[in-house]
Symmetry: C2
Subunit: 243 residues, 2 copies
């Protein structure tokens, strides 16, 4: 069933109207009266709706039944990624959304080459959020992950440790595996933090440990900065029983 | 330590010479007499060597000690991927190499839009093998995964089932998870097969089951054709105790 995302306040109990980009998308799909579609509020609530009227700028829908999204994982995984070069963050946002991330948090660290300034950040955040929305739609998620940026490494650490489990992946860690870290008890929320192209500095890893993050390895091979978060996210979803 | 790959027959017991691209690379790195480097044969054997002479076209090395690579995973994972559109196969080759794949096998299936012809295939294979070599070098692997193509879906299935465990991931499978499939016993080699953009046809999934592959799900979200193999590979490496 085709899936449309609307703002939470638009998810009315009986009738719904698709406008703007959603109406355009519906036109491209040549939706007709009587067809069923899925409308989601991006926060885990969904409605099965039937098309009742198609006009050039809007599509009217009758709500058939409301349901809680079944495609959202039980575990809330926050992906913390140091600002990478080029379009790697966009790649990670798209893939992490497919893989079920709860949110993606980008932060600066010492060796980050790219640090968007405040002016360009607003535009970039809009673009990043659109990538998350589109990936959520394509992968059939009931929730659009929020893309967030924080102004400092310290702020990233303070935010990350609020999860039940906060992990940092470091290429020089050799003894503590992700499996060890995950087997220490029940967890409902996890933060996964990875560094930029040049890696995190030793002092940053120590700072994270002091803040309460656990330092783990992702194995004996050196992963690129865009591969590490997706590898860790896949493994956490697997460990949590998602597949 | 910088890592160079040479042909297996070049890995001599006492002395080694780097030529061609390796010599160029050494020049870019400004290697000097007395520095140590790692030389690998791409099949899991490595030598620690000391630079003894630098001339414009070749670098002479003295072998210090020979060791078996420690960065290769215990489990041999073969990634079977239906030919995707664009440069997605290149992306998967690079990432799967980092993540520790043993080999990458590309095959045609009914809904493949892109199927390289024999003429272009030879050139492409060369290019793909180079991507694997470069990713192996960067990620510190001791072995370069072989990139292989097979001429038919049937040939892919026949090859895949030779592993201890042969799994096919299908978006309409709901009951058998990867975790269930992996928990059925010890495994040393695993084949992971995923479809192209449009997915595999029902008849293809049935054909795979008849051939002996187990059909599994990667969770309730629909993954893109380039995301699925990397997600599955990450989870298998995690399950096998790699991290």
């Amino acid at each position: 069933m085709t899936r449309f995302f609307v703002e939470p306040e638009e998810l009315q109990p009986d009738f719904l109207v698709l406008t703007g980009e959603n109406a355009q998308h519906a036109k491209v799909l040549r939706l007709r009266n009587g067809e069923n579609v899925l409308v989601c509020d991006g926060q885990g609530n969904e409605c099965v709706c039937t098309v009742s009227d198609v006009s050039p700028d809007q599509i009217s829908l009758v709500v058939q039944k409301r349901l809680a999204s079944e495609s959202e994982p039980q575990v809330q995984v926050s992906v913390y990624m140091a600002f990478p070069k080029g379009d790697k963050l966009e790649h990670v946002i798209q893939k992490a959304t497919e893989l079920g991330a709860y949110e993606i948090v980008a932060f600066p660290s010492s060796r980050c080459v790219s640090r968007p300034d405040d002016k360009s950040l607003k535009k970039k955040l809009e673009r990043w959020q659109k990538i998350a929305a589109s990936a959520a739609e394509q992968s059939g998620r009931g929730r659009i992950p929020q893309v967030v940026t924080v102004p400092s490494y310290r702020a990233a650490l303070e935010r990350a440790v609020q999860a039940d489990l906060a992990l940092l992946f470091y290429e020089n860690e050799q003894s503590t595996t992700l499996k060890m870290a995950l087997s220490q008890g029940e967890y409902h929320s996890v933060s996964l933090l990875t560094g930029p192209e040049g890696g995190l500095e030793v002092s940053e890893v120590e700072q994270a440990q002091t803040a309460g993050l656990k330092v783990c390895t992702l194995g004996k091979r050196i992963l690129r900065c865009e591969t590490a978060p997706l590898c860790a996210l896949s493994a956490v979803m697997y460990d949590a029983g998602e597949f």
